[in-house]
Symmetry: C2
Subunit: 206 residues, 2 copies
């Protein structure tokens, strides 16, 4: 069955990261893949589900998980904890399932240190004008929030060179084909193939 | 335009290496790619063309090219020289063109030392039975030659783990999709994208 690959995926808000990951999960039935669900201590919002959007836990439980080394990375934002479960990711990879981890450049750095075999993908918008247009079209945010997101976007984008792969999400379908090509090529890496085709290779060399 | 990638491609005779490279050149018009043509001192055979199958040169000229350091690798086989031109490959890569280099594991080792950025792909048959069947179907070789090729195949296959990528050529169309995915993913590597999209990235970060 082989071992799955951990994909760190980062992008500025509005670049299309979540849509690309969703489309990948829907349209690629050949291989098993899952998205990592973070733990958080913040309150559940309307429409959110436990285990789907986050694992919602109490602050004391989160702190006890930190002490147990249960997180690959964690951070405190506005008084709330957010963290990525080490155990779930390791167990899922060991089942031969690829895992997507939607995380910012700071989390990405922590993950790379802990999981050097992870592959990282940065998704870029084609321009700042297009990014701003997409944020406006979503209609979720006020002008003030959009201005803040644009400033955060520049900061996030400034770290793109720390990633293994860079996808330009200009045309969504092309970006999805790019994303799929990366996953397909990574599965063709010698170490993955050696595990997957062990029986065949033994027979070829016997 | 960016810089092309050198692909070292190895396989036992009959695994479908030449067919895969030909199909790739015919069916992928989006990106520029070429096959490296070796130099040799052996005699031209019926149907062969200078500059297509080999660059046919005199022994004294080949030896003078060796002294000039013109070859990335060269070998002597049954009294004839074979070599890979360093200058043509470097110039072609600098034009942003990917180059395929069809070579055995020994040549591959020499190339890797000289060109550490090269990516290497090993193509495997699904079984020895299928490999032997394909060699018989070609009808080119006597039983004796086929037995010799099968023995050489095992020796070549024993080096598959020195390669970056491994493609199993069971179904030709699937193997071709695999090969294309590798090329597409390699073009999405951060260093290649940074060169290709320099203007866009400057604008995003300005």
């Amino acid at each position: 069955m082989g071992k799955g690959t951990l994909y760190i995926v980062s992008a500025p808000s509005g670049a299309g990261k979540s849509s690309l990951i969703s489309a990948m999960l829907e349209t690629n039935p050949t291989y098993a893949m899952k998205v990592s669900v973070s733990h958080t201590t913040r309150d559940m919002r309307p429409g959110e589900e436990h285990g789907i959007h986050y694992h919602f836990v109490e602050k004391c439980d989160f702190e006890s998980l930190i002490e147990q080394g249960a997180f690959l990375e964690h951070a405190e934002v506005f008084g709330n904890y957010y963290g990525t479960s080490r155990i779930w990711i390791e167990e899922t990879l060991n089942k031969g399932i690829d895992v997507f981890l939607d995380i910012d450049w700071q989390g990405a750095r922590q993950i790379r240190e802990q999981m050097p075999a992870a592959k990282s993908v940065f998704i870029l918008p084609p321009s700042n004008g297009e990014l701003e247009r997409r944020l406006n079209v979503r209609g979720q945010d006020s002008d003030e929030v959009i201005a803040k997101r644009m400033s955060e976007a520049k900061s996030e984008i400034s770290h793109y060179a720390e990633y293994d792969y860079v996808i330009i999400n200009d045309d969504f379908d092309v970006a999805l084909i790019d994303f799929k090509a990366i996953l397909r090529a990574e599965r063709l890496k010698q170490d993955k193939q050696t595990i997957k085709y062990k029986g065949m290779l033994d027979a070829l060399l016997s």
